[in-house]
């Protein structure tokens, strides 16, 4: 609550221009084209890594810009990091279990 009263503009979320949104959308389309064309190339082990990196970059664009995460109060980002961190722990522990069986 304290933090709430200290940020006077918290009630009026940041307004993002149509042009910025269109630019982000265009970037997302370019990344989609990239991931589709890379899938046709034989990259061996790197196939999954490049696909996941591109998907993560796309997600960050959606989270930060479309979902306004970077314009929200810090609490939102802390929450998001805790949620992602939890999922990452699940993934890492499962990976170690299967990789070193």
């Amino acid at each position: 609550m304290d933090q709430h009263t200290r940020t006077p503009h918290a009630e009026t979320p940041h307004k993002i221009s149509y042009g910025t949104y269109v630019l982000i959308w265009f970037g997302l389309l370019v990344l989609t084209a990239l991931t589709v064309s890379l899938a046709g190339i034989e990259l061996g082990r790197w196939v999954i890594i490049t696909a996941l990196v591109i998907a993560s970059v796309k997600s960050l664009l959606v989270l930060n810009m479309f979902m306004h995460l970077r314009f929200e109060e810090r609490t939102f980002r802390v929450f998001a990091l805790v949620a992602l961190g939890t999922l990452l722990i699940f993934i890492t522990l499962t990976f170690f279990d299967y990789a070193f069986h």
């Binding site: 009630e11 009026t12 991931t35 696909a51 996941l52 959606v62 939102f76 949620a83």
Partner: protein
Amino acid sequence: MSSTSPGVAAGPHAHRDDVGSRLGMWLFLFTELILFGGMFIVYAVYRFTHPEAFHLAAAELDTFVGTVNTIILLTSSLTVAMSITAIQEGRKTFALTLVGMTILLALAFLVNKYFEWGHKFDVGIYPGAPELLAQPQGVILYFGLYFVMTGLHALHVIIGMGVLIYDFEAIRRGTINATSFVRLESGALYWHLVDIIWIFLFPLFYLLH
């Protein structure tokens, strides 16, 4: 609202807390993240234990349909994001147009999905199909995950459409307006999450060559 003191604004919305509403929505989205995240872990494990079968099975999926659906969802995310700027500027008709476009794009996604699944059923690929059960274990697992994960995602698309139709009606009636639009923001947040899930589903199921 913006000119009055934040948090405890006077007037008819004395107990309104938009930041709290959005934070609540984000908390709900985190539970969705864990729901789908768990399934992605199951996918990762089976892909790790059955690499050849997964590649074989993925060849059955139509990359073109998957790419079209990706473009549809990304565009729908754009229109719903723009609708918030429109409502902030008080451009009601434009906001209605944008939300309407988002709903139509969601419908287009589902129509594609309907034909895609229909085609799979025709060639004997559906959970428990005799043709599918004759395949190697990894292929059965792949299609089990494919139907459960894209099916649950499609269910989210249907729910998201319902939420957006509700928001459309609220904008039309003026309940959602330039000074009070957190409901549209929540609907949009849900819709973007549906988009993010697809951003990961698409390469993991369709682009596995």
